[in-house]
């Protein structure tokens, strides 16, 4: 969060206020500045927020007058934006910034000796990974700030099992400024450095606050699941502990085309060697390397015995770069290898089959039409193996990979071209390394609920969490129950949870101290995310329907999603200006060209 001083603008207060209730985070960033000059000056407000967050509000108070952001359908906002362009403003308040963040920036002219207050609100659902929730706050005030504070209040009805706060810029001098505590359901973190603590040296007027402030925590888990009901909405968190791992069958489909030459290929090999180190003996695996040709390591999947892992490491070490990129055939080959392994009973009956595709570019040989490749893979993958697509570097056609992954029950992830690319690949692997449940089906009282979010899942990975939410439509319901059925490592597992609805009043009241409608907002957030994801791989008629549903919810709950924009009107010396904040959407890198028509 920054509020940069431009000329004589003094930012005297930055307040980052985060309230988390049952994983749902509501963040308010307030920055106050004063123009100490004798003429009007420009004050800038700049915030890095997580890509997974939705902005819900923005306001500016200048000379006692409030300018509020208004959330509108993107097309409507676009028209307003075009008018803005004609008035000389080319606006775009949100841009991509880091790997995990997008930047919201606005600047405004304020009169001499006047004050301005900026306030940005955003919300997100914290996802559990490797056994913890992580909340990330970018801290970058640029100058010393008289009142700087971060306050995080957490309320988790299950009880907090641990809480930690770390900052990349922390020094011994700054340590006393960080407070963290938790007991039972409540957790609290604060960071309030004094002016002197902010100084990069005793006599410096520069700040050392520049980096990431991260809060991590987890909750107690007395049972596999937990149901919370507030104001007619329920949310069910499911994260069973201490289960045996289900064996997995993984085909690594690795791009070794010419563009992978050099560091990219070295990092890929480094990551594969690390992954092999962590492969459990009950797993099966194989490699399909590709450029314009396909090279399959072994004719069929092999068990991860120490001897096979050694051979695999030798194979990985000798991978060299090749020529062009044929994505279609190697992915189909991977499907075929898994089909054969199933048909010949070479892999355990209860096991997870995954294809991990890593590529840095577009297909430019063989089948090059992205739609055709997606169609071929979908058609071939009759058994529904999960396909994970890792897009390496800037030139990758991410939209193509994302759609292909989503159509095959997987996800796509970007691997950023940097010195830690091997770590990023390894990090992704560890997320999916330990499946403990398969084919999870969650059943709720059918006639008593509506608007249920996704309730069946292909896998559950150790350390993650499944979240399902919905609305209770039966006002007379006394007990709300859920049955979960899933395939475990050795047998079919069943879980049951129920909650007395009369009791939830108390819970509701307790939770209201944070903010009232969080369960409903969590439900809306989750529903919008799932609708947007489904839209990527839906057919055209379905797409429109999904878009409409997601748009209606985005407008109703005032979320800036890829379908909505926030229109911000700011004062100007001549006339008011209109700016538009859009949700940043991943796209291919732009290019410059010369051509003719």
């Amino acid at each position: 969060n920054t509020a940069e001083p431009v000329n004589d603008i003094e930012v005297y207060s930055i307040n980052i206020d985060c309230k988390v209730t049952s994983r749902f985070a509501h963040n308010v960033i307030t920055s106050r500045a004063i123009n100490r000059a004798s003429m009007s000056k420009e004050a800038m407000f700049k915030v890095d927020l997580p890509k997974t967050a939705f902005i819900t509000n923005f306001s500016m108070v200048i000379d006692g007058k409030t300018y509020l952001g208004e959330i509108k359908e993107k097309e409507v906002a676009k028209k307003q934006y075009e008018t803005a362009v004609k008035r000389g403003q080319t606006a775009g308040l949100v841009k991509a910034s880091g790997r995990k963040t997008e930047t919201f920036t606005v600047s405004v002219n304020i009169a001499a000796q006047s004050k301005v207050t900026f306030e940005l609100v955003y919300e997100e659902m914290l996802k559990r990974n490797h056994g913890k929730y992580e909340m990330f706050i970018k801290v970058q005030p640029k100058t010393l700030v008289r009142n700087f504070q971060i306050e995080v209040e957490i309320h988790e009805p299950q009880g907090i099992s641990f809480l930690d706060a770390e900052a990349t810029f922390i020094t011994n001098d700054l340590l006393p400024a960080v407070h963290k505590s938790f007991s039972a359901e409540k957790g609290y973190v604060s960071f309030k450095p004094t002016l002197d603590q902010q100084r990069s040296c005793a006599t410096c007027s520069t700040t050392l606050l520049d980096g990431d402030f991260t809060v991590t925590y987890d909750v107690n888990r007395e049972s596999a699941g937990n149901i919370q009901v507030v104001d007619g909405y329920f949310v069910h968190f499911f994260a069973p502990q201490k289960l045996a791992g289900v064996p997995k069958n993984v085909i690594y489909v690795i791009d070794k085309s010419g563009s992978m030459y050099g560091r990219k290929l070295e990092q890929t090999k480094e990551a594969l060697l690390e992954i092999l180190k962590d492969t459990a003996e009950h797993d099966h695996f194989n490699f399909v390397l590709f450029d314009n040709d396909i090279e399959v390591w072994k004719p069929s999947l092999v068990k991860a015995t120490p001897e096979n892992l050694k051979k695999a490491r030798d194979f990985v070490r000798q991978i060299t770069d090749g020529y062009t990129t044929n994505i279609n055939d190697p992915v189909l080959k991977a499907v075929q290898l898994l089909d054969e392994a199933n048909a010949l009973n070479q892999i355990p009956e209860r096991s997870v089959s995954l294809i991990v595709l890593l590529t840095d570019g577009e297909a430019n040989i063989g089948e090059t039409e992205p739609e055709k490749i997606q169609e071929n893979v979908k058609k071939a993958n009759q058994r529904g193996y999960t396909l994970y697509c890792l897009g390496f570097g800037y030139g990758v056609n991410y939209g193509f990979l994302e759609k292909m992954a989503l159509e095959n029950a997987g996800i796509a992830r970007r691997i950023y071209e940097d010195s830690d690319a091997a770590l990023q690949m390894k990090g992704f692997y560890t997320e999916i390394a330990n499946p403990t449940l398969l084919d999870i089906k969650m059943e709720y009282p059918e006639n008593a609920i509506a608007n249920l979010t996704q309730n069946s899942f292909k896998h559950y990975f150790d350390g993650s969490e499944i979240v399902v939410a919905g609305r209770i439509i039966d006002n007379d319901l006394n007990v709300f129950s859920v049955d979960v059925k899933a395939e475990g490592a050795d047998n079919l597992l069943k879980y049951s949870e129920n909650v007395q609805l009369q009791d939830t009043d108390g819970v509701s009241k307790k939770q209201e101290y944070i903010f009232g409608d969080f369960t409903e907002r969590l439900w809306a957030y989750l529903t919008i995310q799932q609708l947007l994801e489904k839209r990527v791989s839906a057919d055209p008629s379905e797409k429109e329907k999904l878009k409409k549903q997601a748009l209606d919810l985005s407008l109703k709950f005032k979320f800036v999603t890829p379908l909505t924009s926030m229109v911000v009107t700011k004062p100007d010396e001549i006339e008011e200006e209109t700016l538009v904040a859009d949700k940043f959407v991943e796209a291919q890198a732009p290019s410059n060209w010369v051509d003719s028509d």
Partner: protein
């Protein structure tokens, strides 16, 4: 030829034409840091008998130089010639081919396009626009697209290269003209005020026939004021 400059920070694009006589060679990219240069030779003004049927000009030949690799590549509307030191090899647009040497990746997609990349760095796409031999107006020409612009050094220059690390501009005073949908505006760029017109150009990468419309602010007079110097400063004697 029409130039298009993407400006992601403004979620918009700039475009301009450079009008020169056939035979003139223009420097498109010059990166002394990476030792890479790209030049293009202009063709155009199709004549039937003594009558000029079209005044449009295009790029008919592109020259790529990678000094570190001692590599030169000439692309015309008929052939692709790779010169590596003293060795020379010629390919045509008639066949899908790929060429891979350490650090060079070249793929020709029959009668369509070719991609060219140097190691982990620069990547280019060349589109072949083909017409019937007896087309009264058009002749075959080439389109040139750069990818991974960020990989060039900070000193990269040339008609396209100077924009690889972004450009700041502001648009104001948008006003109607006689042509609907093509308002004029004032662009503040490099401390100058230019009159620009809203228009569009086409990106032919995904659809080589129809192209995809890209709205842009058109800068008049051979991009004077937008580019460093004048367009004449980018005329070079030879394709290499």
């Amino acid at each position: 030829p029409h130039f298009v400059i993407n400006v992601p920070s403004q979620n918009d694009a700039l475009c301009f034409n450079i009008q020169e006589e056939p035979g003139v060679v223009l420097n498109l990219v010059e990166d002394q840091g990476l030792g890479i240069a790209v030049n293009g030779e202009i063709i155009g003004k199709k004549k039937i008998g003594n009558n000029v049927m079209s005044n449009e000009t295009y790029f008919g030949k592109l020259g790529f130089v990678n000094r570190e690799m001692k590599l030169r590549i000439e692309v015309t509307t008929e052939t692709i010639t790779i010169m590596l030191g003293k060795n020379k090899k010629e390919y045509t647009w008639e066949k899908t081919t790929s060429v891979k040497k350490k650090g060079l990746n070249l793929v020709i997609h029959k009668k369509n396009n070719m991609t060219l990349s140097f190691g982990e760095g620069a990547k280019f796409v060349i589109i072949l626009h083909q017409f019937l031999k007896d087309d009264p107006l058009h002749m075959d020409f080439l389109g040139f697209y750069t990818l991974d612009d960020h990989k060039f050094s900070a000193h990269v220059h040339g008609l396209l290269g100077q924009f690889f690390h972004g450009i700041d501009y502001e648009i104001s005073n948008v006003h109607k003209t006689k042509i609907p949908d093509k308002p004029d505006a004032t662009m503040k760029v490099k401390n100058k005020l230019l009159t620009v017109t809203r228009g569009s150009q086409k990106d032919y990468r995904s659809d080589p026939r129809k192209g995809k419309k890209v709205p842009c602010w058109f800068v008049h007079s051979n991009a004077e004021g937008l580019i460093d110097g004048t367009h004449k400063d980018y005329i070079v004697p030879d394709i290499f």
